[in-house]
């Protein structure tokens, strides 16, 4: 591969930091990323961490991207190799013309050589040991020191970094001083020993002013806060845990009554996911907005209750922060492997509403929307995020709140309305919109009914009568049809091309970049990003109007493609899969290669 011109690499390169888990590298890596962001330059950060508390290898990837791409590019320009255990593979990974920075306090394995990259040694441990006391401080500050080295090499504004440290340690003066000192030692060492800055470097821009760096779990938690959710129930599971942590901290700030000191929320850490979803269904049945964050294994456990909520028509909001399966899989790696599981969760004829956020901004808005949809449709709604969106910091536009928002509580009868009824029938399609009326416990004895997962009539009574059973089941099907017009529409970029890409969720960022790359190579493609299930009319139209459709998704079995073939009349052979399921977020190069090799083969077969 050719090395790009130095000028081309300003604000366009990838740094990877290889560390040992539990050594406090996260704060140094965040500092690095955020200071570049504060210099007005778009950044992307991905954390590849192990399912471990201390000792296993961990990597952090920072992509500096002047064009504002949000996905991995697939290349690597600078490696900071801080983990002796992974040194050999870290060295191999650097693209020719790139750089590797290592701790030269100890001799580097002589056998591992590369002549096509520049290797820079910095005696980080030695300098730390000479300056700081205590094992803990030395380990932690070594990380800040390499951030200082990078600041000199890449020309990152040291004042911006100092300011960020000041914000982090506002109340801990001694910590602030030692951190700044470590930063400056690294910075000065690099200035003295290396030709600074490198041709690969940053330069101030003005592209991040109305933007934030936020992870999807935090923004989804913020969505729950703004939706007015009052009951959250959960069982801790990676990578969803930070969603409830976020909700809790937002609630502690915004939901504690200033007069009484009482909590206008309840968070239930359940004994397992079965109980968590049960509590959500119980609270929603009783008229509180309620949700649970979980991941694939949790959804597997929740299946029975999900079917009950579907059939008894109880709202519920479930956040599935997807991780790598099957089984326990790789809990700290990302995948879009729960699409089929969620779409048809539980036994019998069930189908569920799914929302697919592509980034933290959409996590926020779809979180709010999921409560409205769940209550409007009286059914469980899944927000299908994943580890990449949920746990990595993404650059997004600043979130804005529309003050005119009013929660859509759906068709719930109040006391006066119930009073006027001669008789209340829970599952009767009075308005012919396939959505019946609900009542809440405690409101009026005439509104009382019996919620059950067993066969019931449209009047709410128990039945084993075929006809009565089918009336309700058929209406549920019509209700799902009706959801098509209520869920978020697919985002379509169509300019009359015959070939197109379809993707979903976090694959979106990589597709956007791939489309640009392909266009530069003279290949123009249309694009549709699906944002919800059931698929709306626009999805079917798009499928019908293209003859080749690449379906990009992050799982082995082409689950989105399967769902499209099952739920639309699309001709199966038109859908060609580009699949990525390594556990790392999909890169744009994976999509470019996938499209080119497929179209190349097609040409070859046409010729041959």
């Amino acid at each position: 591969m050719l090395t790009a011109d130095a000028q081309d690499r300003i604000n366009d390169f990838v740094i990877k930091l290889a560390n040992v888990n539990g050594t406090g590298s996260a704060s140094a890596n965040t500092l690095l990323m955020k200071s570049i962001f504060r210099m007005g330059i778009p950044v992307m950060g991905k954390n590849y961490f192990p399912s471990n508390i201390q000792g296993l290898p961990t990597w952090y990837e920072v992509r500096v991207t002047r064009d504002g791409y949000v996905a991995r590019s697939g290349r690597l320009d600078i490696m900071v190799a801080m983990n002796a255990e992974t040194y050999a593979r870290d060295l191999k990974e650097v693209n020719p013309g790139g750089y590797l920075i290592y701790d030269s306090s100890w001799p580097r394995p002589a056998l591992l050589k590369r002549d096509d990259i520049t290797i820079l040694g910095v005696p980080l441990a030695r300098m730390c040991n000479e300056t700081f006391k205590g094992v803990r401080a030395r380990i932690l500050l070594k990380n800040i020191m390499y951030a200082g080295v990078l600041a000199a090499l890449l020309e990152i504004d040291l004042d911006v970094m100092r300011a960020l440290l000041g914000e982090s340690y506002a109340s801990k003066k001694s910590l602030l001083d030692s951190n700044v000192q470590a930063l400056e030692i690294g910075y000065n060492y690099a200035r003295e020993h290396f030709p600074c800055p490198l041709p690969i470097r940053v330069a101030r821009m003005d592209k991040t002013s109305n933007h934030i760096l936020i992870d999807g779990n935090t923004s989804a938690a913020l969505g729950c806060l703004y939706a007015g959710a009052t009951v959250g129930a959960w069982y801790p599971i990676t990578p969803s845990t930070s969603l409830m942590d976020g909700f809790k901290s937002f609630c502690q700030k915004w939901r504690v009554d200033p007069q009484t000191g009482k909590n206008n929320f309840a968070i239930i850490q359940a004994e397992d996911e079965l109980s968590a979803i049960g509590a959500v269904i119980g609270a929603s049945w009783n008229g509180a907005r309620s949700f649970t964050p979980t991941s694939g294994p949790g959804i597997s456990l929740m299946n029975e209750f999900i079917g009950l909520a579907y059939y008894a028509e109880v709202p519920a909001v479930i956040f599935d922060i997807q991780r790598v399966g099957p089984s326990t899989g790789m809990p700290t790696r990302t995948q879009q492997g729960d699409i089929m599981l969620a779409a048809y969760a539980s036994h019998g004829d069930t189908r569920h509403v799914l929302l697919f956020p592509a980034n933290p901004e959409e996590c926020f808005h779809m979180a709010v929307q999921s409560f409205d949809l769940a209550e409007r449709l009286q059914t469980p709604v899944f927000v299908m995020s994943d580890l990449d969106i949920g746990m990595n910091d993404w650059m997004c536009p600043v979130l804005d709140w529309d003050e005119s928002y009013k929660p859509d509580r759906g068709k719930v009868l109040n006391k006066e309305q119930i009073e006027k009824l001669t008789r209340f029938h829970r599952y009767l399609d009075l308005d012919e919109d396939a959505i019946p009326y609900r009542t809440l416990p405690g409101v009026h004895p005439k509104g009382a009914y019996f919620t059950r997962g067993s066969g019931h009539t449209q009047y709410g009574g128990y039945t084993e009568d075929s006809g009565e059973y089918q009336i309700v089941l058929d209406r549920l099907k019509r209700k799902f049809e009706r959801a098509k017009s209520l869920v978020p529409k697919a985002v379509i970029d169509s300019s009359g091309n015959d070939t197109a890409i379809i993707s979903v969720g976090s694959s979106d960022g990589a597709v956007h970049e791939a489309l640009d790359i392909l266009r530069r190579r003279g290949l123009k493609l249309d694009y549709m990003r699906i944002r919800a299930f059931p698929f709306g009319q626009e999805v079917e139209k798009f499928l019908a109007s293209h003859s080749v459709l690449f379906v990009v998704e992050q799982n082995r079995d082409a689950q989105l493609r399967s769902l499209l073939t099952l739920e639309t009349p699309v001709e199966k052979s038109k859908l060609r899969s580009i699949l990525h399921y390594s556990g790392l977020p999909i890169s744009s190069s994976c999509i470019v290669d996938g499209v080119l090799s497929d179209l190349g083969n097609q040409k070859r077969s046409a010729v041959g």
């Binding site: 936020i214 309840a266 239930i268 405690g442 009382a448």
Partner: protein
Amino acid sequence: MSFIAKPKVAHPGLVKNELGLTRRDYEGGMSTLCAGCGHDSVTAAIIQAVWELSVRPEQLAKLSGIGCSSKTTAYFVSGGHGFNAVHGRMPSIATGANAANRDLYYIGVSGDGDTLSIGFGQFAHAIRRNINMLYMIENNGVYGLTKGQFSASADVGSKAKRGEANVQPPVDPVLTALTLGCTFVARSFSGDKEQLVPLIKAGLKHKGFALIDVLSPCVTFNDHEGSTKSYEFVRDHYDEVVHTDFVAPAQEITTQYAEGEAMPVTLHDGSRVLLRKLDPAYDPTHRGKAFNYLRDKLRQGEYVTGLIYINEKNTEFHEVNNTPTVPLNQLPYEQLTPGKKGMEKIMGKYR
């Protein structure tokens, strides 16, 4: 089950409670259980208790799991919402429902299979969370709907209808609840309405998780010779440890209980449970002693009934979670959102 629906006629002579409602106003749908089922007696006791307490029908939320026992929530107080959940998972529904609205009375009706096998975990954790509810186990030692398999409460040596003897030791819900720190633990017998009604009233008024394990013989699959949960066996092995009377807050304590014989326990709302001790050594406010007493009696082959343990000085779920007196499901949206200004503030941290 009966196929004749009872006509809904209000006889002018029927006794009315404080709300002007008769017992008929607290009835539910027609039972579909076998004639003579102990569960129907429990249903009748519940109706009597809530009528006597003058609970508004809509204030009662009736929750259950799956099984014969769980069907019974449809047979009382049709003016209250019912939720027939999935097998063994009623406690989690109760947890969420109670979190959303603390103002209702929650009564959960479960069975020995529902509670002690498939739902054992949820049962334990609802006790641990101390959900303010009355949890009743209609305990017959057998799986009725699937035609007579042993449940986890079946005693060793107890015989199934076809003669097969149970070999696995039973789980005792009362001992379990005591161990877990349950704040109201009682046991009764479906055939003893006089004991059961005051216990149900006290359990509903108790602040925190109240358990009543009701031995309720299965007339079809577990009422034969050799069964330890038959009517005959239970009547013969019955040790009433304390006799319970429930006294509403407005009423004066009657003087029929002499000092030393009666032990009044004041509930959080001012009402009282009067415990008339049958065994002078028994102290229902001492968890350790209660546990030992139960074990001693069990060794003698006797089931201790009555209010076995009570602790009114507990902190229930809402106190632990510091929730407001206004139920969470009734807070206006304006009180729940930080608004546009709040968002601007929140965003500052992520810039």
